[in-house]
């Protein structure tokens, strides 16, 4: 058995993981990063939009500062976030963007002079100042008061990922690709590494470490329709959750995007609707203007996704080999606009659909997009329940996003949180000693060998992993998607309990040798169904609508009862999660108020209670 040793083991080498690794390596600690794919293929690289940071360099960003960014983030979260964390994030973001520039990110820069921009299909003029020439510029994103999103053309995630991976290479960090952690090594109190399956050879390996950090991104792939890469399957969450002592924070907080293309759920930008595109049904008739007479297609993400789902439920969806969908129509925007302002959309239509959006309709449907849910950590990134275990990025519920995250805040979180949590890991590592018990390691490895052997031999049963997965995905799409209600969630839970039983009886059809995918899928299917049950159960209990969590039977945001965060534990041998709750934030800089979009009423919290919890400045 190959055994590796390091001060810090980072599971996942996307932007959050590598940023954490860089911080520790710069301080002289020995770091190993594990990644299922070569680091640069991480889902971080798919983020095109940009990273929010209040630099205030561009004309439309004038007057921006970290307080405005903080306020946007808290409002965006629908007061579900930890305000201490949102503050740490907003304050550090500008420094982090500059640091990235120093390391080599080719941020777009301010170009002085007049230029045009589009908003809602209308053309406006702006003028950039000479004194700001060459500083990092920003673009506009939804939900923000100022233009604050730093970007590199249409490939921000990719460019930052290249720079971060270069920095890892420069520092000599071992980034091992095609390695998948399948369980944590721990004694119930302290985490000391992971058992890992090599995806080149299929061999098991052991990685021992003083500190371990889970940075494996979101788990959108437990839904059938998701914009996530195929590697975003909850592997990291399952590692932590399986220990029985680590909770998933706010599992019900899942964000959906209105316009994923059918069949592959690749995202087409909201810019389509922003510039005047419309949504059509099976009769090629508009419907958003019926439900939202004022804003129509320009209503917020969650609102549009809700009405689209509603309209399909009314029987107005278009049937296809891949399920029902609706149409996005941008034909009337014309060739010039589509070839320039919506070039990406044009390319996606061409490459993946064989559709010319100048002449044809684009098949779209609401799609899972982001998990605010994650491995619950404190503000230092330390995971609840296990010493030596940390988490950062989308994998974590650090919790600056609460119940809805703003565009551009997720990509920024990867590096900003990575930097902050990396620093905290360094503090933790300094002077820290731990014991590696050989019996504990042997037991952890034996357990995994046993699990694999049983899957290969069919000792547990004869269920097919792909069928079980499909059942889970369908159940979540049906009962735990954009709309949630008592009956749907109860049915979803009932189905998933049956699915969990099947997941425990999976066996392989293939031999499972080498880089076998069926084995990888089988090893995590039970954990995935458990995550699904956490979402459904937490969503059932939360009898309110907050951010992306929408209850048809409880449409108000209830600050009296639900100004809190769900913690979902899965105890050893249990068949359902155990839910606990904690306060959403230790205190308030901004007292709960209206989000400013998305509608809905609010059942207000006790004013005196909130007042007592205001941070004193």
């Amino acid at each position: 058995m190959q055994t590796y040793y390091s001060d810090l083991l980072v599971i996942g080498a996307g932007l959050a993981g590598e940023r954490v690794a860089v911080e520790a390596a710069q301080e002289g600690f020995d770091v190993i990063c594990l990644s299922i794919v070569p680091a640069r293929r991480s889902h971080s690289s798919a983020a095109q939009g940009g990273m929010q940071a209040a630099l205030g360099n561009c004309a439309k960003g004038e007057g921006d500062n970290v307080d405005v960014h903080f306020g946007d983030t808290v409002r965006g979260s629908d007061w579900g976030c930890d305000q201490e964390v949102a503050r740490l994030f907003a304050d550090a973001a500008p420094i982090e963007m500059r640091r990235l520039a120093h390391w080599g990110v080719p941020w777009n820069r301010v170009v002085p002079g007049k230029s045009f921009y589009f908003k809602g299909g209308e053309k406006f003029e702006k003028e950039e100042k000479e004194e700001k020439r060459g500083l990092i510029t920003a673009r506009s994103f939804g939900g923000t008061a100022k233009w604050r999103t730093c970007y590199t053309s249409d490939g921000t995630g990719h460019a930052v990922m290249c720079t971060m991976d270069n920095r890892c290479a420069e520092l000599g960090i071992n980034v091992f690709d095609r390695k998948e952690a399948i369980s944590l090594i721990h004694d119930g109190d302290t985490c000391t590494g992971a058992v890992v399956r090599c995806l080149r050879t299929g061999e098991l390996e052991v990685y021992l470490s003083k500190a371990t950090s889970i940075c494996t991104g979101g788990f959108g792939r437990i839904y059938k329709a998701t914009t996530n890469a195929v590697i975003c399957d909850g592997g990291g969450h399952i590692l932590a959750h399986d220990t029985g002592v680590v909770p998933i924070g706010n599992p019900e907080a899942i964000q959906f995007h209105p316009t994923g293309i059918v069949p592959t759920d690749i995202l087409v930008t909201e810019g389509c609707r922003g510039d005047g595109g419309t949504l059509l049904d099976v009769n090629e008739e508009r419907f958003m203007n019926i439900y939202e007479p004022e804003k129509a297609e320009l209503a917020s993400r969650d609102v549009v996704a809700r009405w689209m789902t509603h309209h399909m439920r009314e029987g107005k969806g278009v049937k296809s080999a891949y399920g029902e969908h609706l149409w996005l129509d941008i034909r009337h925007l014309g060739d010039k606009h589509i070839s320039t302002k919506l070039r990406e959309v044009d390319e996606i239509c061409h490459h993946f659909l064989n559709v010319d959006p100048r002449k044809q309709l684009i098949p779209v449907r609401p799609t899972q997009h982001y998990t605010m849910a994650g491995v619950r950590t404190n503000k230092d990134g330390a995971v609840y329940g296990l010493k030596g275990l940390f988490s950062a990025g989308e994998a974590a519920c650090w919790d600056m996003h609460g119940f809805n995250r703003l565009g551009g805040n997720s990509l920024a979180e990867t590096v900003v949180a990575g930097g902050i949590i990396g620093t905290k890991i360094v503090e933790f590592l300094k002077g820290y000693e731990t014991d590696f018990k050989t019996s504990l390691v042997a037991e952890a490895v034996r357990k995994e060998q046993d699990r694999i052997e049983k899957l290969r031999s069919g000792a547990n049963g004869k269920e097919n992993v792909y069928k079980v997965r499909e059942e889970m995905q369908d159940a979540l799409m049906e009962g735990c998607f954009v709309f949630r209600n008592d009956a749907g969630l109860n049915k979803c839970i009932e189905t998933l309990q049956g699915t969990l039983d099947k997941a425990r009886k999976v066996s392989l059809v293939s031999d499972g040798l080498g880089a076998n995918h069926e084995l990888a899928a089988a090893l995590k299917i039970e954990g995935q169904v458990k995550l699904g049950l956490c979402i459904a159960k937490a969503a059932l209990e939360r009898t309110e609508s907050r951010g992306s969590h929408n209850r048809e039977d409880y449409t108000a945001r209830d600050d009296q009862k639900w100004l809190n965060r769900t913690l979902a534990y899965w105890r050893d041998g249990a068949d359902m999660p155990e839910l606990q709750y904690e306060e959403a934030t230790p205190g308030y800089e901004i007292p709960p108020g209206d989000r400013g979009y998305g509608g809905g009423s609010i059942i207000e919290a006790d004013k005196a209670e909130i007042e007592a919890k205001m941070f004193k400045k």
Partner: protein, 245 residues
């Protein structure tokens, strides 16, 4: 619509002692808007769970799924079956080590390349968290970004005559990488420093100019222009070196 597609797929699992390299035929009904991503996943889930291939972003952004499709290296995710004949032959990329079936080890190849080309900004300046960022002209930033768009899919190397002949040839992706740092004003390396890395037959002088790299690049990177740019630069550096001696 509704064609029956015949997939001839290369099969070999080096981790299975009984495995012998061979071609295997699968049949699948075509559906609307089908890509090779959809087709291969269906084959694995419905017909042969042992089939090994790579996908990650499935959106043409990450470069994981490059393979040889009917003779040409390309990204499987953005290959629509409607653009292919009923007979589809899939082979793993050449040059790279085979992991199994259609999956090859591009990760190790590219990581070695980062080390060879020292793929990071070389500077003696230290970062000051209290200072505003150093200014850069937007044009320069865009020029750097254009070269950084490479997704490391490996198609260019797989389509390269020289790379097929000699293992040590750096290939278009590596030379493009060097060009990215040459145009970056933050990188303080000189032409002589770059000459040490690429001024030889393994580097800039090994290219036979067959243009295969640029033909197959899914991101349409100007690989041959960069090669020409570097070759001129390195040629001049070589002449200067002669006069220094």
């Amino acid at each position: 619509m509704s064609r029956q597609l015949e997939f001839d797929i290369f099969r070999y699992n080096p981790q299975d002692k009984g495995s012998v390299p061979h071609m295997q035929t699968f049949v699948l009904d075509e559906t609307e808007n089908m890509t090779l991503f959809i087709a291969l996943n269906r084959l694995r889930e419905e017909q042969d769970p042992g089939l090994i291939f790579d996908f990650c972003c499935r959106a043409g952004i990450c470069g994981a799924c490059a393979m040889v499709v009917n003779g040409k290296p390309r990204l499987a995710c953005q290959t629509k079956t409607v653009d292919l004949p009923e007979q589809i032959t899939l082979l793993p990329l050449p040059v790279y080590q085979l992991i199994g079936d259609l999956s090859v080890d591009t990760g190790s190849w590219f990581r070695e390349m980062y080390q060879t080309t020292e793929s990071w900004v070389h500077t003696n300046k230290t970062f000051d968290p209290g200072a505003i960022e150093e200014r850069m002209e937007n044009e320069v930033a865009e020029q750097i970004y254009e070269l950084e768009r490479c997704i490391e899919c490996g198609c260019c190397v797989a389509a390269c005559g020289t790379a097929r002949l000699r293992d040590d040839f750096l290939g278009a992706a590596s030379l493009n990488r060097v060009a990215r740092f040459v145009v970056d004003p933050r990188d303080q390396r000189t032409d002589r420093d770059y000459f040490e890395i690429i001024g030889n037959d393994e580097g800039i002088f090994g290219c036979m100019g067959l243009l295969g790299c640029e033909d197959v690049c899914p991101k349409s990177l100007p690989l041959q222009n960069q090669l020409g740019f570097l070759r001129r630069k390195m040629g001049i550096t070589a002449i200067k070196e002669i006069f220094r001696k």
